[in-house]
Point group: C2
Chain length 227, copies 2
DNA sequence: CTCGTCAATATCGTATACAATTATCTTGCC
DNA sequence: GGCAAGATAATTGTATACGATATTGACGAG
């Protein structure tokens, strides 16, 4: 929105790059390099990194710089669990207060998802995430929106780390089901449908022990024993 | 913990000052002034403010500086609602996995609360909050801990804004009840007890239309009408 | 040839400086 | 006396500079 200040610009750019998996987990994020790319000084970059760190999208170690966060498998499962908790709350609230205009918005978004289904770029994945953020926004709760937004972003990291490519197919039908449940105005049903959807997303992601290398020491430890 | 860097020091200091209501909602937080007080430059202060802003404890407006956040009444109720959601999740998880050692820790904390009951300073209030943060920590979930921690902090803001002084009495017995429910290992009961506790906290806070002045114009508008 | 020590490099943490924006005060006018 | 416009002061946004810390590679002792 207000990308007036350079810090904001850097923040949103880095955030999008991470979510779209252009910046993959573990990648170093040196302040100098980023500053050069955007034509700004380290000062602005640092502020952006501090914010991203507070959201858990990047890890910063004192005097050692920042890198895209690499959630552990444990954290990954944890985040999905928390996501289920929060999104069920979203479904619960929305099922009690949603308006026809809001339902129309959701339907429009799903149509957009449908349209983007062909181009298997990062677009489809981003739209799937934004559907959930839109849901959160419609509750009118800023804190809830923030948390859902954060969690959904971090799920991108998790998919990048622990999921086979393309294994996260977009439950487009499930999104439609959610809309229908919300339209019905039955909280219990809406919560149940949402819970199942999140579980299905997690299921399809096939989260498993590091598709990528999570920790060098853990790997080498095994080799050291057998040596 | 690691208060190595000055930014960290500032961050934790400001955070505590806000939680203990030494810095009240709406107070301006000029970078220069803070920097002078701590004997550091604005650079470090800014980083701290960015973090606090990300957590919703301070509001920063571009080119106009930072001030302690003033959640609206709507946001306040919302935050309590979200708190109930998250803390029920905490209770749910803990009731399934809690260890005797952890129970002992909780009991020790409650004893500390008991001891601090006499000195009606900010200590008692802080400990009550930290009981909930401790619960979240015991789940072992970092994201959940962070969210609970944030929400509990923001509740301090809400109490400062919308609650009568001393109206937030510390449900010490309720904390003991929670521990007992967790010891039983019955998730449903634990969740219920926790939910009731949060509701009781909200109830006792007597959250209502501005105990403090929320907006000068609103007040003067009334006077203008009757003049 | 291996290991430990040390220099060189890269990167971060913080302070300072300056430009840009906003707030405050003065001044002149009605 | 009240109000508007301009000047001055205060505050933020950003860049640059320098010291501190960590990493890397080289060199020499064993």
């Amino acid at each position: 929105m207000t990308q007036s200040s350079r810090s904001e610009t850097i923040y949103y750019s880095l955030r999008r790059a991470i979510i779209e998996q252009a910046l993959r987990p573990g990648m170093k994020l040196p302040e100098d390099t980023i500053g050069e790319q955007f034509g700004v000084s380290r000062t602005s970059v640092r502020n952006a990194l501090v914010r991203l760190s507070a959201e858990g999208l990047v890890d910063v170690q004192p005097n050692r710089g920042a890198c895209v966060a690499e959630p552990t498998l444990e954290e990954a499962l944890d985040i999905f669990s928390l996501r289920r908790c929060l999104e069920r709350e979203v479904a619960n609230r929305l099922s009690r207060q949603i308006t026809p205009a809001q339902l129309a918005k959701l339907e429009a978004h799903v149509r957009e998802e449908q349209a983007a289904l062909g181009s298997e770029g990062p677009l489809s994945m981003r739209l799937a995430g934004e559907f959930h953020i839109l849901l959160a926004q419609l509750t009118g709760s800023r804190p809830l929106t923030r948390y859902v937004s954060e969690i959904v972003s971090r799920c991108s990291l998790i998919l990048a780390l622990y999921s086979r490519p393309h294994s996260s197919r977009c439950g487009l039908d499930e999104h439609r089901q959610i809309i229908e449940a919300l339209r019905k105005g039955d909280p219990e049903r809406a919560v149940a449908v949402m819970g199942q959807h999140i579980e299905a997303v997690e299921e399809r992601a096939e989260i498993r022990e590091h598709a990528e290398e999570p920790d060098v020491r853990a790997i080498l430890g095994e080799y050291a024993k057998s040596a």
